[in-house]
Every structure is written in structure tokens, then in C-alpha cells.
């Protein structure tokens, strides 16, 4: 409750021209097919459109597999021994320069069609859980003079936590959209409620999507 109350307070005062909507790994698992995902996708789409009307830039922060010896990293070793998944295949995207990226159709995840990035959206590709680690995200946010980050992550608790923690350390105000926070996390390693409490207690704020939409309108 405290988190919601705080979010309500700041929403009234947030200058939206200093805000960005961060879609952190907005992927859905290819299998199993998620039931009732259409409603959430449609809600995120509405938020994206309403944000755009208020001048809020949408930034996609996407896991990818650059050809930098990722398979030799500790993260890849962890993926192998704990999840039994090759990291480069897990992170690969179906587009990009093959000299720069491992690229192919990803059989684990994809961005739902209605949420595909549009021409005026920004895309940052990351190769670690945090969107800030060795990427251009902080540079982009500084160039756009962004202070407030509204964050959505449909399925990845790890990427959301790592990115928002770094965002907070880098002096951004981080606000997670509650219902969309790992709502499709099929591993369910952390229950959504625990994740939201963690975000509120360690990183920043959370806000209901409906309240956010109302504030935007």
C-alpha cells in the first residue's frame, strides 16, 4: 500500500517530458502459449500510445547475443549449469549484422506483434541482465535529459531487477508498472507480489497501470 500511495503522490508532479517508458525484455515465451496474454498486451499498447502523445519516449531494452565470447562468460556458465540453456541461443534475435551478433530466430522468446518497436522508438541491445551494463542506455537517457523511468518487463524478473537497480544507482527515479511486472514469468522463481515489494523497498516506486493511464490522459 505504501508503494501505491507514494506512486500516486509522485504521479501528480512528474514532468513527463523528463520521462521514458522502458520496455525491458518485453518478450513472451514461445512455449507454453500464455493464456489471457492478449489483454495485457493490449494494455501495454495503450500505455505506449498514451505515453507517446505526452512526449514520453519508448525505449526497448532487449537481451541480445553479440559475438564477444559471451559463451565464455560466467553468465553463460550459469545458464548452462542451472538452466541447461546455451546463452547465445537464448539471447539471439532474428535481426542484425551477423558480424556483430549471433542472430537467428529465437525459439525461446519473441516480442508480441502489437508491441514490436516502431520507427520513433529507441532500441538498446544488452548482453547481461542489466540494460545499463556495457550498453548505450545511460548515454541515450542523458542525451534525452531523462530523469524518470517507467518500467515494464513482461517476463524477466532478472532483467527488471538488474536494470532498475542500476537505474537507481545512476540517479534515475524508477517506477515499475505493477500489473505488467513479470506477469508472464513462466518460471515463477519470484512471485510477482514479492518482486513488487522488493522494487518498492529497494529501488523506487510502483504504480497501477490504470492510474498511470489516467495521469497520462
Amino acid at each position: 500500500m505504501a508503494g501505491r500511495f507514494k506512486a500516486k503522490l509522485i504521479l501528480d508532479n512528474i514532468p513527463f517530458f523528463n520521462s521514458a517508458l522502458l520496455l525491458i525484455d518485453p518478450f513472451l515465451p514461445q512455449k507454453p502459449k500464455i493464456k489471457n496474454s492478449d489483454r495485457m498486451i493490449s494494455l501495454v499498447q495503450k500505455i505506449k500510445k498514451a505515453s507517446s502523445k505526452r512526449g514520453i519516449k519508448t525505449i526497448y531494452v532487449l537481451s541480445s547475443a553479440p559475438r564477444i565470447g559471451l559463451e565464455k562468460s560466467e553468465l553463460a556458465k550459469h545458464f548452462r549449469h542451472t538452466w541447461d540453456i546455451p546463452l547465445t541461443k537464448y539471447y539471439q534475435l532474428p535481426i542484425g549484422d551477423p558480424q556483430e551478433y549471433h542472430f537467428n530466430k529465437n525459439r525461446y522468446f519473441s516480442i508480441p506483434e502489437p508491441l514490436q518497436p516502431q520507427a520513433d522508438d529507441f532500441c538498446i541491445r544488452k548482453h547481461a541482465p542489466s540494460g545499463f551494463f556495457d550498453t548505450r542506455l545511460d548515454v541515450l537517457l542523458q542525451n534525452l535529459k531523462i530523469k524518470y523511468l517507467f518500467c515494464i518487463s513482461l517476463s524477466s524478473d532478472l532483467s527488471l531487477l538488474a536494470t532498475t537497480l542500476d537505474g537507481c544507482s545512476l540517479n534515475y527515479r524508477v517506477i515499475a508498472l505493477r500489473e505488467a511486472t513479470c506477469c508472464f514469468s513462466y518460471l515463477k522463481t519470484i512471485p510477482q507480489k514479492t518482486l513488487l515489494t522488493t522494487l518498492e523497498s529497494t529501488v523506487g516506486y510502483t504504480v497501477n497501470m490504470k492510474d498511470f493511464l489516467n495521469a497520462l490522459s
Binding site: 526497448y60 553479440p66 559475438r67 564477444i68 565470447g69 559471451l70 565464455k72 562468460s73 535481426i95 542484425g96 549484422d97 551477423p98 558480424q99 556483430e100 518497436p117 520507427a119 522508438d121 529507441f122 532500441c123 538498446i124 541491445r125 548482453h127 547481461a128 551494463f133 556495457d134 550498453t135 548505450r136 545511460d138 548515454v139 541515450l140 542523458q142 542525451n143 534525452l144 535529459k145
Partner: protein
């Protein structure tokens, strides 16, 4: 298969008799090939600079110099490939990150009369991530073209380390020493080398595989290039030539 090789390097050392004077000195370093990387900075010099043009003028010193650099880089790349030394490319690019609103963008407008955003647009990139131009791409001289096993990092500032994956790549490959060449000795190569040095890498320049920008009157003697080579030996690391590298690798 990793091997140890000895490099005979030049560095700058304070004179014992005169506090203000620095003299060239030599040191032999034993390096492990698996812990050494060849770092090539902005070597997409176009695909014509290494060829003899149809209308070749003997006094085309600028072209000749580029060709010498390309030959030195080619020698070094071939030798490193044979020795199992990994090759890292860092190359200018134009990611869509609102660079036009940055101080770098303002500087480019103010001093160079150009827009930095989109300057290095390419055809073979994801349009969501990079500025796209179907008619443009980074053209490498044939012998310098990266191979699929090489590491290719796109940068958007002078330094190859600034907001890129270069440090991740070097860590994953357990690299501790960087042998560097490319353009410019007073620009991107310098900035990248400084950042490498502060990140605790041993930095070595291939003296014949780089150049600095030169004023017309200083061009003939390569004065500015020599100035920056000396400055590098004085402030950051070591130098050697591509021929010395090949000899050391015994290729």
C-alpha cells in the same frame, strides 16, 4: 594452443642526468598469446586505399602513407591469426541514441560543420538500433576485412570503451595486453588506448600502423604523428613495428 612470445619494445624513460629529459629505452616483455589481443581502431579506410589507382601520382604522399599503414596492419593481422591471437575491431557507427542532442553533437556542428548523428549510417544493421542508409557501409580494405571469428564492436565516441561491449569482450577472452593500430593516433586510437590503460591493460602501439592528423607544413616529416608516438611512450605504454611483431611471433 597458447604460446609465449617475446616482444622487444620501446618506451620512454626519464634521464638520470637531466630531470627534464626523457630518452627512448628498450624492454623485452614475455607475453602469452592467449592473453594478448590485436585491437584495430577505425580501420575501415575504404576499399581503394591499398590499391594502385589508375592515375597514380608519385607525390600522392597521403595515399602512400595510408597504403603503408594498411600493409603494416595486414602483416600484423596475418601474423596474429597464425599465432592464435584474437583480433578485436572497434569501428565508428551511428546508433540511434539522440547523439544530435549531446555535447559531442554540438561540438561536431560547431567545429566540423557536420551532424554527427547518422554520419556513419550503414546498410547492414538493424534500423531500430542504428541509423540506416542502404547506400552506405563501413568499407574495409580487402586485407583488413574482419572475419566471422573476430570480435566486432561498434562505437559512437572516440573511445572504443565508451558505452560499448569492448570491456566485456576482453574480459570474456581473458585478455591482458592489447597490441593496437589504426586511426587516429591523436583521436580514436589515443582515446581508446587511454581508456584501456586505466582499465589495467598493457597497451602497445604498432608505430607503423597508425598516423595522426598533420598540418600541411608538417606532413612531410610526419611531425605530429611522431609527437603523439613519443607522447604515448611517455604517458601510456610501449611501441614496436609490425616487422618486429612478426619476428617475435616467429611467423
Amino acid at each position: 594452443m597458447s604460446m609465449i612470445f617475446n616482444l622487444n619494445l620501446t618506451y620512454s624513460k626519464k634521464s638520470q642526468s637531466d630531470e627534464q629529459t626523457f630518452v627512448k629505452n628498450r624492454e623485452i616483455l614475455a607475453l602469452q598469446s592467449s592473453e594478448t589481443g590485436l585491437l584495430l581502431v577505425d580501420v575501415a579506410l575504404g576499399n581503394q586505399r591499398h590499391k594502385t589507382p589508375a592515375s597514380f601520382h608519385r607525390d600522392d604522399a597521403d595515399w602512400l602513407w595510408d597504403r603503408q599503414i594498411i600493409q603494416a596492419l595486414t602483416r600484423s593481422i596475418n601474423a596474429c591469426r597464425k599465432a592464435g591471437i584474437r583480433i578485436f575491431y572497434v569501428q565508428n557507427s551511428s546508433p540511434r541514441i539522440a547523439t544530435e542532442k549531446s555535447e559531442f553533437g554540438a561540438h561536431a556542428r560547431r567545429s566540423w560543420n557536420c551532424e554527427i548523428a547518422g554520419l556513419f549510417a550503414e546498410s547492414n544493421v538493424d534500423q531500430n538500433e542504428y541509423s540506416h542508409d542502404k547506400l552506405k557501409k563501413n568499407e574495409f580494405p580487402d586485407p583488413l576485412r574482419p572475419e566471422i571469428q573476430d570480435i566486432y564492436i561498434r562505437k559512437h565516441a572516440y573511445s572504443g570503451f565508451f558505452a560499448t561491449r569492448l570491456q566485456s569482450a576482453l574480459r570474456y577472452h581473458a585478455i591482458r595486453t592489447l597490441i593496437c593500430g589504426g586511426i587516429w593516433a591523436n583521436g580514436c586510437l589515443l582515446s581508446t588506448s587511454l581508456d584501456a590503460f586505466f582499465r589495467n591493460y598493457k597497451v602497445i602501439w604498432l608505430a607503423d600502423a597508425t598516423r595522426a592528423s598533420e598540418k600541411p607544413l608538417e606532413f612531410k616529416n610526419r611531425k605530429n604523428t611522431n609527437r603523439f608516438l613519443e607522447w604515448f611512450e611517455f604517458q601510456i605504454g610501449y611501441t614496436l613495428t609490425s616487422i618486429q611483431l612478426i619476428k617475435a611471433l616467429n611467423i
